[in-house]
């Protein structure tokens, strides 16, 4: 009996691993930036044309959102971000990733603008320092500049409610 149980047990363990593997998405890997300070790379604010870095907005939780005018998913999620920002009053910084800033300006005037500021990263150096793979990609940074959460892909109302809001509420409770 035991002789038959051992191979069956091994078979079931291997099946368990394979089943778990099928449920994982290779593109959704945890960010190496979680729990680390966000890099303070100098980039140009497209509106003021001045060089700045994210330290300017620290002291409150901020969403750092990488987008581009050529990115279709970014177009789909912009109305969601605008709606969400109206009810949550969170500072969202847009980073125009590997894009022409003039085209991004036109794109924002066409589709709406949820950003407090938008920064030019046309060379992708800020993105590379944050481990960005593709747009859209979003980082939730706490008041001390520590990356608390990263989301790859378009933001949906479910992601905002399930992943981002509780983290921001946690911060608000601490500071009441």
């Amino acid at each position: 009996m035991l002789k038959k149980m051992i191979p069956m047990g091994v078979f079931l363990v291997v099946c368990g691993f394979l089943l778990r593997g099928l449920q994982l998405h290779p593109q959704e890997m945890p960010s190496a930036q979680l729990g680390k300070a966000i890099p303070m790379v100098d980039v140009v604010d497209v509106n003021t044309l001045k060089s700045c870095n994210l330290s300017h907005w620290l002291g409150q939780p901020i969403l750092v959102h990488f987008f581009a005018s050529w990115c279709e998913n970014c177009t789909d999620e912009m109305p969601i971000l605008i709606d969400w920002r109206q009810t949550h009053h969170v500072t969202i910084i847009g980073v125009d990733y590997k894009d022409n800033p003039e085209e991004a300006k036109q794109w924002l005037s066409l589709w709406g603008n949820a950003f407090v500021a938008f920064l030019d990263d046309n060379q992708g150096q800020f993105g590379l320092n944050l481990g960005v793979v593709a747009t859209p990609e979003t980082f939730l940074v706490d008041e001390q500049g520590i990356v608390q959460y990263r989301h790859q892909g378009p933001l949906t109302p479910e992601i905002l409610t399930r992943e981002i809001e509780p983290r921001i509420q946690q911060w608000s409770h601490k500071h009441v």
Binding site: M29, A32, L128
Partner: protein, 127 residues
């Protein structure tokens, strides 16, 4: 026929010249360091390809960063650390041996021992 052979040869001469122009190094050592680094690092866009094979914009950015760091005289481990700090161990085709990866490294050896044990046991029962 000879014309075709000549065209074929020119194609290879042209591509090798292009590679040298794109990433010109001051020494053959740096060129070798750059080549082996881009071969052992994964493209984060097309996961099955290394940086050398990939033409994805992110891979080109990474190759440019590696090129600058190799030209500045940084060592392999410094460049690997720079990239793993940002993209994690997944960027390495050979992940380091640690708590999270021990099973990945030891599983083949464990399976070989398990196979040998099953085979040995089977042979003994047969005898």
């Amino acid at each position: 026929m000879s014309r075709r052979i000549l065209t074929f040869c020119i194609f290879f001469i042209y591509t090798s010249c292009y590679a040298e122009v794109k990433y010109p190094f001051s020494s053959k050592t740096q060129e070798a360091q750059f080549t082996h680094l881009i071969t052992e690092l994964r493209c984060m866009v097309c996961h099955h390809q290394n940086l050398a094979e990939s033409e994805a914009p992110l891979a080109l950015d990474m190759k440019q960063v590696i090129y600058q760091k190799v030209s500045a005289g940084e060592s392999d481990s410094e460049i690997r650390t720079f990239l793993t700090d940002r993209y994690g161990d997944v960027i390495l085709f050979k992940p380091p041996f640690k708590i999270m990866t021990w099973f990945l490294w030891l599983a083949p050896v464990l399976f070989i021992f398990f196979g040998i044990a099953v085979f040995y046991r089977h042979v003994r029962v047969e005898k």
